[in-house]
Symmetry: C2
Subunit: 442 residues, 2 copies
């Protein structure tokens, strides 16, 4: 939920189809050129993991670690200006992505827009009339999907907690906005945040320069490069130390050039941060994710599991934030439809991944020592989010960000003890051992 | 106490006097060239504040904002490798600093080394025999002074709390070490840390390159540039929300070139972070600092007060961390003796600045709401230290740092509430108003 995302730009689709971006930009004032907008999520790209298997087409991508030399850093769930870390657009993907956008398949379950909106936590960011007008476009389908994910997850949490989410709908003056749902100090949850953001705007001149310096000239209309980004993200911190913290984020990004060519990709992931190891929980969580992944590609789970362990690493502690899950970015294969279907599968897995674990430990008793250990682990969670999470870092560095949405991923309470060391052989030591040496759970 | 410091390199002293660095390096193994060591403190340089008045000599320094283009980032209270952000050596200061080192005045109060060491929290980092052998050198005088400051402050805190500091003496394999004193969960103090570090080593090749790129070629013996840095730093988080948090750090740095020319400077500051505004406390704290500053230069207090407000600014919140105090870096004027005397005056002001405030509020009653507000402010303290403090950031990014010393500045407990907003007209709102608009207290 850390409400910020680093979105990478790599894939270009030359297409003549009506672009979602057009609809977003219709209502935009012309004077805010050097600003970019963005997304929610507390991940970013973790480079260096080979994702070559995801490539196909006449000229495949080289290993992710080498083709991807940078990222678009996009602050969000907030109004933000662009922070462009780097950029590489690979011309080899034109053909591939084009293929994808020529298959505007719509899954059967995507029914009447207005009807579906009734079940959301709030009206969507984009006007229902615009969504209806463009219901076959990926941006609409993704916005509907993330709104559904938010609603489904919030309702499942409300049911188990008995409390109610506070819903804040906010607008970003440069374009777009978001819906932040927060339940604080509930019966079961210390702090639960589920955030949707749908933002759009223009690439800064600096960002465009960065792109050019990476070997790809991107031309925008009147020097502006329109972007559109959206995502759902969440962090849930329960009170009981036997119920783990969960985090997930699923996001979609588009960028459009002057000639109408479009680049797009998906990113996301779900990961678990327990206070104590419960091997059955760990198996259930990872296995549920694996089954969702396996339906789409046999290598997704093993690769995205590794990527997750690598991304959520608290370097100065020499430990991972939790026991991982999956993490991916920059997904544009095998085609847009299938990539979307995969992301949808992942998003639909959030409730079955997490809720059975919550319910299982709902009435577990715990000691003050166990609560203290939870608080120490919460401190490490804060350390990761404030020190390493690229999304949070760029969000905080970006004037005009919605800070409350960015920092709603922080726990209600945390603790730092000098020289804290669990007793050898204790359950706390067992937890640390797992964080220091990530395991295969499935 | 955040145990890391960014130390700036600017001043060069050509001197033939026996250098402190020599003694430190005598015992160093030869194989660890590309590493630098360092210091404690959670400040760094805050650029842009004009300190022109501090210059003298034939060719004065231009305003600090323009002469100072970089900093040596030195991780410490820990074993660290060098992180060199930048560097500027100004040849105009040769003459000035030379003047200084030719006046090896020793204040009368600096008596017998062995006798003074008896009052310390631990044996000093440098062997007593080495300190005695080089008792007139600035590095020795500074090490003795920071050890005395640590002892004086720890004893004053122990007296008021009734608890005892845990003393950890640690070594840094590359050279030097430190003494970390921590009292946790005491009667009065939630977490109190007072840290000394005295570290030395060599400049990395990258660091040397950085220096050359800034217009000054620094030649080291066999390509190595010996450094020596030391400091005392502390953060005290009391339990009672009516007793403010205090932080201070005083530090000294030396670098030596092949021809024996030496650069040196001092840095430091003391600042207060109350949970509620007490104007009398604020006046007492600032006025005590002002009186110490005024003895040395009428512009020190006003300039260093501004610098402090600027450095301890939590940008994403639009508020300062606390109500400030003083902050300075890069102090090499009017001469080494007087600069040292000023730093000593500041260090001796810590107890009279803070302890009367602690004693005044020792038995103040407080409500749960007041405690909660303290915890929210503690959260902001964590945000500053993890997001902005350059010392912490470099320390965490530096493999081999003593993380526990770096992070002992974090409170025992902290809290993050979504959309926390004090009631209009409340004492919490009054505090926020002051943090958003720093005041003149004297």
């Amino acid at each position: 939920m850390a409400s910020i995302v680093l979105l990478t730009v790599k894939h270009t689709a030359q297409t003549k189809v009506k672009r979602c971006l057009g609809s977003h930009f219709k209502g935009l004032a012309g004077g805010n050129a050097p600003s970019v907008f963005l997304l929610s999520g507390n991940e970013s790209l973790s480079r260096g993991l080979g994702l070559r298997f995801m490539s196909h087409g006449t000229a495949g991508r080289s290993a992710a670690g080498s083709t991807r030399t940078g990222a678009l850093a996009l602050g969000g769930a907030a109004a933000v200006t662009a922070a462009v870390v780097g950029f590489l657009a690979n011309a080899n993907h034109f053909q591939r992505a084009e293929m994808a956008t020529k298959i505007p398949l719509k899954s059967k379950e995507e029914g009447d827009i207005a009807e579906r909106c009734k079940g959301f936590m709030s009206a969507p960011v984009t006007d229902i009339s615009v969504l209806e007008e463009r219901k076959n476009e990926m941006s609409t389908r993704m916005e509907m999907m993330i709104m559904e994910t938010q609603a489904e997850f919030c309702k499942a949490l409300e049911e188990v907690d008995g409390g109610t989410f506070k819903v804040d709908k906010w607008q970003r003056k440069e374009g777009g906005g978001g819906i932040s749902c927060v339940m604080q100090d509930g019966k079961v949850f210390e702090k639960a945040g589920v955030n949707v953001s749908v933002v759009f705007g223009y690439l800064t001149e600096e960002a465009a320069k960065q792109m050019r310096s990476r070997g790809k000239v991107l031309k925008g209309k009147d020097g502006k490069l329109p972007f559109c980004a959206m995502g759902v993200s969440s962090v849930i911190h329960p009170k009981n130390p036997h119920i783990p913290t969960v985090h997930f984020n699923y996001r979609y990004f588009e960028i459009e050039e002057e000639d109408g060519s479009k680049q797009w990709w998906f990113g996301g992931g779900t990961d678990l941060t327990p206070v104590y190891i419960d091997k059955k929980d760990a198996f259930h969580f990872h296995n549920t994710l694996k089954k969702a992944c396996d339906k789409h590609h046999p290598k997704y789970y093993p690769e995205f599991k590794k990527w997750c362990d690598k991304y959520f690493y608290v370097r100065h502690r020499g430990e991972t934030r939790g026991i991982g899950g999956i993490f991916f970015d920059d997904l544009d294969s095998p085609n847009q439809e299938e990539a979307f279907n995969f992301v949808k599968s992942c998003a639909r897995t959030v409730v079955p991944c997490y809720l059975p674990i919550v319910k299982k430990h709902l009435n577990d008793s715990f000691t003050q020592d166990e609560k203290d250990w939870q608080q120490v682990r919460r401190g490490r969670y804060v350390e990761f989010n404030l020190v390493y999470d690229r999304g949070v870092k760029f969000g905080l560095a970006t004037p005009g960000s919605r800070i409350e949405s960015i920092l709603m991923s922080l726990p209600l309470t945390a603790r730092w003890e000098y020289m804290h060391k669990p007793v050898k052989g204790s359950r706390e030591a067992e937890m640390l051992e797992v964080l220091r040496n990530p395991k295969e759970w499935v």
